[in-house]
Symmetry: C2
Subunit: 109 residues, 2 copies
């Protein structure tokens, strides 16, 4: 594994049903987002440039699914499978973070 | 949670005993490394600058415990509780990656 140009971290934290904080993994289908993200990168032949890693809690649980891109440190909130193509195309390939999906500054600013 | 100056990702991937790849979480006490890292940052009052997040597999399983620091993208291999103070003091506070603990370039270079 070479050091990637972009490293995408996707929260898949799981908490029990009814937990007051909720969680990206149990309440917001983060595992499907993780799987779909990986598949689309593979289909586009981007695995040599972009690495995807699942994570435990990154903080803003009520904003999930939280997705964080390094080295620039851009965090997205509320990511669903429908957003994946846009993030890959516009940000990971095109270099422009997707403004409409950014985590609010009070959680990551 | 403000965006941290340094973000430390610690692999806590778990695989069943006897799995050919092994894993940082099941075979190399990664959860203790994660807990000790977090505690030492807290004791030093660094939680406003450094965030610690557990992760799934980051790739070089036979080199674990794997620890990755962004935004610089420096990866460490074989981290134990005995290495934590050095990484915090020299790298996260002092800004100089710990050469002797770096992941070999064939795994991350």
């Amino acid at each position: 594994m070479a050091k990637p140009e972009k490293h995408v971290f996707i929260c898949t934290q799981q908490r029990p049903q009814g937990h007051p904080r909720g969680s990206c993994g149990a309440d917001r289908d983060a595992f499907s987002v993780f799987a779909a993200f990986s598949m689309e990168l593979d289909q586009r032949g981007l695995f040599n440039k972009v690495q995807v890693t699942s994570t435990g809690c990154m903080g803003p649980c009520n904003q999930g699914v939280s997705v964080l891109v390094y080295p620039e440190g851009v965090m997205y909130r509320g990511i669903t499978q429908a957003d994946i193509s846009t993030v890959i195309e516009q940000h990971l390939v095109g270099g422009k973070p997707v403004e409409s999906l950014l985590m609010p500054a009070e959680h990551w600013g």
